[in-house]
Amino acid sequence: MAKVVVKNLTKKFDDVVAVNNMNSIVEDREFAVLVGPSGCGKTTMLRMIAGLEEVTEGEIYIGDRLINNVAPKDRDIAMVFQNYALYPHFNVYDNMAFGLRLRKTPKPEIDKMVHEAAKILKIEDLLKRKPKQLSGGQRQRVALGRAIVRNPKVFLMDEPLSNLDAKLRVQMRTEIVKLHERLNATIIYVTHDQTEAMTMADKIIIMKNGIVQQTGKPQEVYDYPNNMFVAGFIGSPAMNFLYATITDRMTLKGGIFELNTTDKVRKIIKDNNLIGKEIVIGIRPEDLEDSYFVQNIPANNTITANVEVTEPMGSEIYVYVDIEGVLVTARVNPRSILRSGGKATLYVDINKIHVFDKNTEKVYI
């Protein structure tokens, strides 16, 4: 009932096109994460849904209602701002109660709802304080609390965790996810942090320069990126890209390596007539392993290169090797003895590699 539908949505600030012909559907009770690099139009998008920014072209529906010309207060939404936007002259209680009072909710009910929300967010002790007497994390929770007491159909959150320290951020992430399960509301969550997107989302919408690059479940987007941008943006450490030419023998040949291909890849090479062409190979760090730990390696499934840096993480080691000037990351077995300055022979899991067009950056596989 409260699905959010965006049709051919475009927003222009004079000459700047902030959102370009966007089409998206966020289903009822879905946790959708809008992710993309800085300046790609995420905030603009959210503000248009909230009614704070006029739509240049296109349509926005909440439920079945066209809301292009509906005032923000009548859209039944709540928004958590990037800078919290708590009312400095109200205390926490009044901040949370403000929206309810405006809607003429009876006093006892307001009291009940505010305390309930405060309990969920563990800010019961802070109700009497003014926003400036709170820490960043507490303000964050008050901002969330202000949104949830209203019990709206749709929550809009604009990078709500960006001002918090790493630990608190992780903690709040789970809080918000729990909150979502509990509230049964549609949430559109904006972030530029792909980890947040991956961990929280039911659906990820990836944007770049105002254009939607890909929409899908986190794992889907991770495993089957549409293009090099999505492939590079989702996943941490990021996917490695290597230039290669496709030989007559259907191998992928770079300067210092030559990789075999699977049947699936070969079929695509044939279908697209790629023999002799230059392409880009995408390999995720976890698909590279110290060959020492792999048995029965077929020929042409390894790359040997100089180790630049190693970063032991405990459960794994990040090994950075230099392949033709490109710093390639590999996540290898923690017992690996690869050290910087030495040579590493890395096993490539060719079942998992991606192939991209060099010019269009579109994915072949």
Partner: protein, 583 residues
């Protein structure tokens, strides 16, 4: 925009040139003393309104001189009343001749006394020859009385004229009567054609008079008033056979003054435009500096009086300069204070004591008891608070619109608001007077509100707009989403957050209205409608000013403003520094 010195100099020159051009090139086709006049003429016109109103008082000065002369004569008369005036006159004239020849020596004061006595004695001689020895005292008293009567007459006449200027009701009733008479005459059918013609002539002239007065009434150009004033005074003087030798020179003086003021107006305008340009320049500079982050951190006086490595000489000089300024500001105040405590009417004193030896509060008591001081305080309070409240309401809503909405004419609008501040206040006197008169608000406190609010609002708009700009918009957006309307957001979110700026705006409007004099002086003439500043001047008597009472009243006048200032100073400091603080 203004990154180097050259462009600054250019801008200053530009401002001066624009000012000069505006001041001199614009020439309305009206003639003033035979020559075309520049725009400043309007200003002179306004000045002359004030003058016209005060003119009777100035004429009164010459009467006063006349009365002094009379009292001097009577003094001389009493001095020599036992002797023969003819002999004494001869003796004195002989002394004068001897002095002229250099036989006897006299110092300057003695000489003046001698000359005065001679002229007095001559006057007495002529009195005696006309009225005889016995009638002289009586006659002199009579003369004195006449002088005072005449002064009052002229004063009333002037006010009457100004009040009558735009009021043609008397003429209209006259016209009506004449019309009735005429129709009656015509209906009677025995109409004497001569009589009818005379009546028609009458009606014509009355109509012309009405048109003339109405034109003058709507004509805000002061020189007509100036001419009319001359006419009135001339007629009074000739009617009453008064010899006022000062009159001609006084008039010359006024004209000369007007011509001088023209020069100052050009300067004013130039300076105003220059000021505007500098303001814009400073604003640009600040924006530029903020953008490029070229601001060095400024030390706040609260935390650091001086830097650690400041030399003693530097600190000493700093204190010395501060001390100088303190003395310059405090000395006049202390002076007023000690005058108010002196028992007699002593404006000057050789003593440097701040609290005089025989200090007393009698002046304060008298200020309250024998004057309308309480009423003036009440009036001032009503006008100032109303100005403050209305001004803040108007300017807050205007400033919010300027700060938040995009509309055509937003930037020019802000500039225009600023430009209204450029004009010297007296320039607007005449139009203000005429407008308020026509609205029937003369001698009403409500009448004062209009010009006061109008002058307070522009400054407040700028002040508040600057403050509103610093309030993050997301607060309002948040309120919209929470369910606020635009108006609700303004009332519940923006205004409470802008309290410091609102306080400053209120304080500013209050103080401006509290201490305004010129407009109040023109609009209000009844004692029970006066505001404090006008009342204070009213305390300066025509013949004698009780300086002690005056000072006491002056101090009482400033107390509420000082208290208000102290009460709001916390906002003032906060408000002035607020641009820099966020959250």
């Amino acid at each position: 925009m203004f990154k180097n010195k050259k462009s600054w100099i250019g801008i200053i020159l530009f401002g001066i040139i624009i000012g000069l051009i505006l001041g001199m090139v614009y020439r309305p086709d009206l003639k003033y003393t035979g020559k075309p006049v520049p725009i400043v003429y309007y200003f002179e016109g306004s000045v002359n309104t004030g003058r016209t109103i005060n003119y009777a008082l100035e004429i009164g000065d010459s009467f006063r001189r006349k009365s002094k002369e009379l009292s001097s004569i009577s003094e001389t008369y009493n001095k020599y009343s036992t002797e023969n005036f003819e002999d004494i006159l001869k003796e004195k004239e002989f002394q004068k001749v001897q002095y002229d020849k250099g036989v006897i020596k006299l110092n300057k004061i003695e000489l003046i006394q001698l000359e005065a006595e001679i002229s007095d004695l001559e006057a007495i001689q002529s009195y005696i020859s006309e009225y005889g020895e016995t009638g002289i005292t009586l006659k002199m008293e009579e003369d004195y009385e006449t002088v005072i009567q005449l002064e009052k007459y002229i004063f009333d006449e002037m006010h009457g004229y100004i009040d009558k200027r735009v009021d043609v009701s008397d003429l209209r009733t006259q016209l009506e009567n004449q019309g009735k008479e005429l129709t009656a005459l015509l209906e009677a059918e025995e109409a004497d054609s001569e009589q009818v013609a005379a009546l028609e002539q009458d009606i014509k002239s009355i109509k012309a008079e009405i048109v003339d007065r109405e034109i003058k009434g709507t004509d805000v150009k002061g020189y007509k008033l100036l001419i009319k004033r001359e006419e009135i005074v001339d007629s009074i003087i000739s009617e009453n056979n008064i010899q006022i030798d000062t009159y001609a020179s006084l008039n010359d003086f006024i004209f000369k003054e007007a011509r001088v003021s023209r020069f100052y107006i050009i300067l004013y305008m130039g300076a105003g435009i220059l000021g505007l340009l500098i303001l814009i320049g400073i604003q640009r500079l600040i924006v530029y500096k903020v953008k490029t982050q070229r601001f060095r951190r400024v030390r706040v006086w609260k935390n650091n009086y001086f830097e650690r490595d400041d030399s003693l000489a530097f600190i000493g000089i700093t204190y010395f300069i501060l001390l100088l300024f303190c003395i310059a500001t405090l000395y006049p105040l202390l002076n007023v204070f000690s005058i108010s405590l002196r028992p007699a009417n002593n404006l000057f004193s050789t003593s440097f004591r701040i609290i005089p030896k025989d200090w007393t509060f009698a002046n304060y008591k008298e200020a309250f008891v024998s004057n309308d001081l309480l009423i003036w305080i009440k009036n001032s309070f009503i006008v100032a608070s109303a100005t403050s409240v209305i001004g803040v309401i108007f300017s807050a809503s205007a400033a919010y619109a300027f700060s938040r909405f995009k509309f055509y004419g937003r930037k020019p609008g802000m500039i225009v608001v600023l430009i209204t501040q450029m004009f010297p206040a007296p320039m607007l006197l005449l139009p203000t007077y005429v407008i308020l008169y026509k609205m029937g608000l003369k001698d009403r406190l409500t009448g004062l509100l209009f010009p006061y609010v109008a002058t307070a609002v522009p400054f407040c708009i700028w002040l508040l707009k600057g403050y509103f700009d610093t309030i993050p918009r997301s607060l309002e957006e948040s309120a919209y989403i929470d369910g606020c309307s635009l108006f609700n957001t303004f009332i519940k979110i923006v205004l409470p957050l802008a309290k410091p700026a609102l306080a400053i705006a209120a304080l500013f409007s209050f103080m401006a209205a509290w201490s305004e004099f010129i407009i109040a002086r023109i609009i209000v003439s009844q004692s029970d409608k006066m505001t404090l500043p006008v009342g204070l001047v009213y305390l300066q008597g025509e013949f004698l000013t009780k300086w002690g009472v005056y000072s006491a009243a002056a101090l009482i006048t400033c107390i509420p403003v000082v208290l208000l200032f102290i009460a709001l100073s916390r906002f003032l400091v906060g408000g002035l520094t607020l641009g820099g603080l966020k959250e």
